[in-house]
Each structure stands twice: as C-alpha cells, then as structure tokens.
C-alpha cells in the first residue's frame, strides 16, 4: 500500500525513512507543535519550497536540463492568483472562483512559455540554453516591474483572499489542542494537502516509463533517440510538467502570503535557493526536495537568531576582535554562504545520496 503510494520508489535507507516520516508528521502537526506566527510561516514556506524544488528536480535531476527560468513559472503562478484577486474581487471580497481563474490563467501562460522555451532548447545546447534562460528570467522580471499597472511593479501586490482563509475567520469558539483555529491554519492545511498530493504525483511521474526515459535522455540523448525516443517530446514534456507544478507552487505561496512581488517569486536569489536545495537534497531523488527544503528554509530563517543566541550580538563573542564582526547576526549570509560551500563539498551526492550510500553496500564488484 505504502509502496504503491510511493510508486515503488521507497526511501531505501532506514534513516532516510525515519527523517522523512518525522518531516511529514512535523509539517502535518506544525500548527499545534510550533506555536507562533513565525513558525507557521516558516512551515508554510517549507511546504511551498518542497513542491517548487521537487518540480525543479524533475527538470534538472531527472531530465538534466539546466534552466534558470524556473522561478519565472513560480512567479506566474503567484501573480496569476494575485492579479485575479485584485481584479476580480467583487463587492463581497474575493471568491475561490476568482482565485481558480487566476490559477487557470497562470497555468495556461506557463504552458505557453514552457513550450516556447522548450522550442528554444532544440536550437541551442546545454550551457547556452542555461544562459538564455538566465536572460529570459531577467527579462521577465524586468517586464513584471515595467507592467506596474498590472503587477504593482517593484512594490508587488497585496490582496485579500476568501474570508475562510483570512486570520480573522475563526470557526471555533475555543482553541483546539491549545491553538485557535483561524483562516491561517485552514490555509496551511490547504497547502499541506495540495503539496502532499502533488508531490506523490510527481513521484509517480518520475517512476513511470516516461520518467525513466527522461533519465535516459539525461544520460545520453543521442542514444535515447537512437533507440526510438524523441527527446524533443520528452524534454518538452518534462519542462511542461515541471513548469505547471512550479506555477501551482507559486499560487500557493501567493495564497499564503496574500502578497506577491518580484523579490518574493521572480528573483535570481530564489532560483539559486532552489538550485542549492536540489543539490544539497540530492539530485534526481525527489526525496531530496523534502529534506533539502526543510533544512534550507529552516537555516534561512533561524541562522540569524542562531548567531544572536551564540552571542554574536552583544554577547561575549561580539567582543572578540575580527571574529566579533564575523559572527554578528548582520553577517548571517556569510555563514549561509559558507554552508553552501561546505554542503557542496561534503554532500557530493546530496543528503539522500549520502544516506542511501550508508545503508546499502552497493552492487558487488567484478566477480568473474
């Protein structure tokens, strides 16, 4: 049963399985386990990133396409919902209909752009393609800030959501398990449900015959063609699936934040975060997206506090010359950067790869 759900692609490492289970349970109970607005926000961001990163893993880890335009689709989803909510909101607030229409529009646009990008990838190869997507993403970001009438420009869009999803909505009189159930919590569980389902669907896709062909194309597209797979079709297919999922992730983020802007969804920085998570988690594993996202989002949000707690601000460490300047919470990015480097050093196959290598001895060597 569980094997079916996981599409016959189990974690294949006991520790990994335990970690994954803990993550899923932790996220499922986050509103009750970790009180506070910040904690819930972090958990929601983890959810969105799991989806975003998993969709990118399909593209990068499984198909071997390096694209920097992935956040473009993420942004399209977010803006789709945001624009629909600002434009289509009626007298009595924004309805789910408007949001769904926004999402549908965004998915349509992503489909179109995904196709275009896919076509371009036929003309230019690997690194040139990567650079083109980099430029396209930059251009799209520029466009989003130019069309400020529609997108709110640099400032982005704040919008309202259906009443059930607002913090003001409190269906129950008394707190449940010590937590007041409000619209935020409901939104959180909406996110959780969608992310869980779509992630399992992605897992299914990569373990389908289609997904295996993607791997073949990644390994040697010339050979894949020579045994009868049209790599253009598969590449485009993979681009489209991942673009659509990224769009969905964007929509979820917007729904959660009730805001969207260029820095939140379109910036190169986010693209980089995604790339990093894929690599740290373990490329081409899907599960890497889960562990990586949780770890990274956590670090991103609590590193600064960690430094403060360690005494980087006003504490004894701050007094030490030179080191004091380095461990100041204001320099948290320094440590994140260092984390980047060390992770790439120490997890060449990512967390999942590392965990799996621990538990299996691998195929036996030459035994003629």
């Amino acid at each position: 049963m569980i094997d079916r759900l996981l599409s016959a692609d189990p974690p294949r490492s006991r520790l990994l399985a335990v970690l994954l289970l803990a993550t899923v349970l932790g996220l499922a109970c986050a509103p009750f386990l970790f009180p506070g607005a910040k904690a819930l926000g972090v958990a929601a961001k983890m959810l969105v990133f799991i989806l975003l990163v998993a969709s990118y893993d399909l593209l990068l880890g499984y198909t071997g396409i390096v694209s920097f335009a992935h956040t473009m689709f993420f942004g399209i989803g977010a803006y789709g919902v945001a624009i629909a909510a600002t434009r289509l909101g009626g007298e009595d607030g924004v309805g789910f209909g408007a949001l769904l229409m926004g999402l549908a529009g965004a998915l349509g646009l992503s489909l179109l752009l995904g196709l275009l990008i896919g076509l371009f990838s036929l003309r230019v190869k690997a690194i040139f393609f990567a650079m083109i997507t980099l430029a396209v993403a930059a251009a799209f970001q520029g466009l989003a800030s130019q069309l400020s009438e529609l997108t709110g420009g640099e400032d982005g869009l704040s919008f309202s959501v259906p009443e059930v999803l607002t913090p003001a909505f409190e269906p129950f009189e008394a707190p449940v398990l010590g937590r007041v159930i409000d619209g935020q919590v409901i939104t959180y569980y909406l996110l959780f449900g969608v992310v869980l389902l779509v992630f399992l669907a992605l897992l299914r896709v990569v373990n389908s015959p289609f997904g295996r062909v993607l791997q073949a194309i990644r390994e040697n597209d010339f050979r894949a063609e020579a045994i009868g797979y049209r790599s253009a079709v598969y590449r485009t297919g993979s681009t489209l699936v991942s673009a659509l999922v990224a769009t969905l992730a964007g929509a979820l983020l917007a729904l959660w934040l009730r805001y969207t802007g260029p820095d939140t969804t379109l910036s190169f920085e986010i693209m980089l975060d995604v790339l990093l998570i894929v690599v740290i988690g373990g490329m081409g594993t899907m599960y890497g997206a889960v562990l990586g996202s949780v770890l990274f989002v956590f670090a991103q949000n609590y590193l600064q506090e960690g430094l403060r707690w360690m005494g980087g601000e006003g504490g004894w460490l701050a007094e030490v010359p030179v080191l004091g300047a380095l461990v100041s919470p204001d320099r948290w990015l320094l440590w994140l950067g260092l984390g980047f480097v060390l992770c790439v050093y120490h997890f060449p196959t990512g967390l999942v790869g590392r965990l799996r290598a621990r538990s299996t001895t691998g195929p036996s060597p030459a035994d003629h």
Partner: protein
C-alpha cells in the same frame, strides 16, 4: 510598571543595509533623547525588538505578524524599503496595531494602500518632488526630467510636474533601471534642451545602481544646461562636488536645520562616531520622537484606538523642527530645504547650503487615500 514593546523592522542586511543601519541608530538615539536617557515613559520601560527584513517583502510581512503576534509588540516602526512596507500594511490592519512607517517613501503607503493604522514620519515621494519643484520653479526656466523607467521614477516625475507652476517642463526622459551608459539619454536631453531659451535644467530622479550624473561629463555647459537633483546620503553627495552651484531640495542635511533637537543629535553623533548624522539617522530619530511624544500623551497607554486618536493631528519635535501628522492620511507634514551646493575642501562631499526653508504649508501635498 510594565513595559512598552516596540518592534523596529528594517534592513539590517540586504541591499539597503546601510540605510537600515542609520535608521536603527537614529531610532535608538531618538528614544534616548526623548526619554532623557531613562528609556521609560510613564514609568513603563521601552523595549525595542529589532528585526531584519533583509529587504524581502514576504519576510517583512511575516516578521511584522510575528512581532505583533508572537512578541506582543504594541507598536511597530519601519521598514526601509517601500516594497516591504506595502506588503506590511495589511498586517497592521489585521492585528489592529500601529505601524509607523520610516523611511519607506512610496506615496501609496499613505495613498491608496493606506489603512488607519498606518502613520509615517518619513517624507513621501510627493514631498520630495514638490519641494524640488518649488526650489526650481521660476519663470523663464526650462526643465527636462531624467528618471528611472518604473513606478518610482514615473510617480516622482508626475508629482514634480503637477507642482510646477511657472517653469516650463519640456521633456521627460525615462531610462531603464539597469542603464549603465547614459550617453544616449543625455543626447536626447541635449537635443531637446539646447535650442530652448532661458535657464535650462535637467532634473534627475534616480535611486540605486547607475550614475546618471555622468551625463555632465558630456560637457552640458557648452549648451548652457545645468543639472539639479534632490538631496541624498553623504557618500552619494560626494559626486555633487563636481556641481558647485547645483540647486535642489533635500529632506535633511545635518548643517541645515537650526533647532535644539538637531543640535543635540549632531553633537551626540559627533561625540559617538566622529562624524555627522546622515539622512536616515535623522529619520529614525524623528520616528522615535513621534513614538515617545504619543506615548507621553496617552500616559503610557498602548491601546491602539487611543494611540490613533492621539496621534492624528499630533505635532512633535524632530531634528527637522516640528512635524505634524495630518489627520487625513497620517503623513507627517514637514519642512524641506532648498539648497545650493558649495564645494568645501573640509568635506568629502558637496555641501548643500540652505537657500530657503520650504515650510510644510508651502507644499500642497495631495491626499491620495480613499478615506
């Protein structure tokens, strides 16, 4: 006794780190000054919780929610960037607590995105633009504008244009924000201006990367064209040294306002850091003055409705003299300063000398919110 918790959310890191740092410093100095060093109002301790929005709107938003929700902040101050501020506004309304915006400048913060929990001590773009217009607006002057091609630049030019009464605005040049080579734009401006009669001025509204002042290197003088722009932080005013005599209007320069508060700020700042306070330091200081003044009036009561009614129309001292939150949109009305640049070897920057203080009453700052 009890305490009063104030969250100060600003860019401790990120692209605006330098601005955020100034604001935070100014804010702390302002609290010290306003409470005579006790950090208490009406017997209640002022606790400042600093948070870093990294210049990211989504983060700012969740930090503000956490500040009101998790940290029980009674009032919040910040943030540095307008994008972050706009994302934050609804949170204040959700938590029904005050957000005192400083120094984010976008008009829409007190304009169409405003809600009644929002106050702002910082100047808004319109105030900037209008004061510059007032400074340059003379009969016989011909003006062309050079601005970044996005909302900030376009809004600024629009406010500037609306405020021009006597001078003639002949051209608006908008260049992409990522422009590095200004030759083409300069050439277009020259073509538009060179055959005009009278005093010819290019008014520049530019923030962020790129250096539009380079157009002066194209020898604008041979066409009799001058450059004008608003004030800026001190390091940015280093390039003003190349433009002695340049006119414009600024929000703050430490040498300009003459009042006890400013004197105290400048003296204290020199004492601590051996250098004068800058643009955003004054802003942070003003915000602190506003907070303490309000709290003193309510006698330490932090109930939001009470605070709002106290602060609406409230006047308070700042390094820039007296400011007043106007009732309609909670924007602090304040003086701006018409300056002329003088080169003084003692300073690393072009020194803006006061030509004239433009009083709040002289500026017709439109009310744009939907109240």
């Amino acid at each position: 006794a009890g305490e009063i918790r104030i969250a100060h959310i600003h860019s401790k890191t990120g692209p605006l780190e330098a601005y955020g740092k100034q604001t935070a410093l100014g804010f702390r100095m302002g609290l010290e000054y306003a409470t005579n060093g006790t950090m208490e109002v009406a017997g209640k301790k002022l606790v400042v919780i600093e948070k870093d929005d990294q210049g990211k709107p989504d983060l700012g938003k969740s930090l503000l929610a956490a500040a009101y929700g998790d940290d029980q902040a009674d009032i919040a101050v910040g943030p540095t960037s307008s994008g972050v501020a706009l994302a934050m506004l609804p949170v204040a309304a959700e938590y029904k607590k005050i957000l005192l915006v400083e120094p984010a400048v976008a008009d829409s913060i007190t304009g169409d995105k405003w809600n009644k929990y929002i106050f702002r001590t910082g100047r808004n773009s319109s105030q900037d633009a209008i004061s510059n217009a007032v400074a340059l607006d003379k009969p016989g002057t011909v003006i062309a504008t050079l601005a970044q091609d996005y909302a900030f630049g376009r809004d600024g030019v629009k406010a500037f244009k609306d405020a021009i009464k006597q001078a003639k605005l002949v051209h608006e040049e908008y260049l992409p924000t990522n422009t590095t080579d200004f030759t083409a734009g300069a050439q277009r401006l020259i073509d538009k201006l060179k055959d005009q009669p009278g005093r010819k001025v290019i008014f520049i509204i530019w923030a962020g990367s790129g250096n539009p002042f380079k157009i002066a290197d194209l020898d604008l003088k041979r066409h009799g064209i001058e450059i004008a722009t608003g004030g800026n932080i001190l390091p940015a005013m280093a390039s003003y040294k190349n433009f002695p005599g340049m006119e414009g209007a600024t929000y703050y320069y430490f040498g300009i306002p003459k009042n006890p508060v400013n004197e105290a700020l400048v003296a204290q700042h020199y004492k601590q850091f051996k250098q004068p306070p800058d643009f955003f330091t004054a802003g942070g200081f003003s915000a602190a003055m506003a907070v303490v003044t309000a709290l003193k009036k309510t006698n330490g009561d932090t109930a939001t409705p009470k605070l709002i009614s106290t602060m609406e129309g409230m006047s308070f001292d700042t390094p820039k003299g007296v400011m007043t939150f106007r009732k309609e949109d909670h924007q602090a009305m304040q003086s701006m300063y018409h300056f002329r640049i003088k080169v003084d070897p003692a300073f690393a920057w072009g020194v803006p000398e006061l030509v004239r203080e433009i009083k709040a009453s002289e500026m017709d700052v439109p009310i744009r919110n939907k109240r």
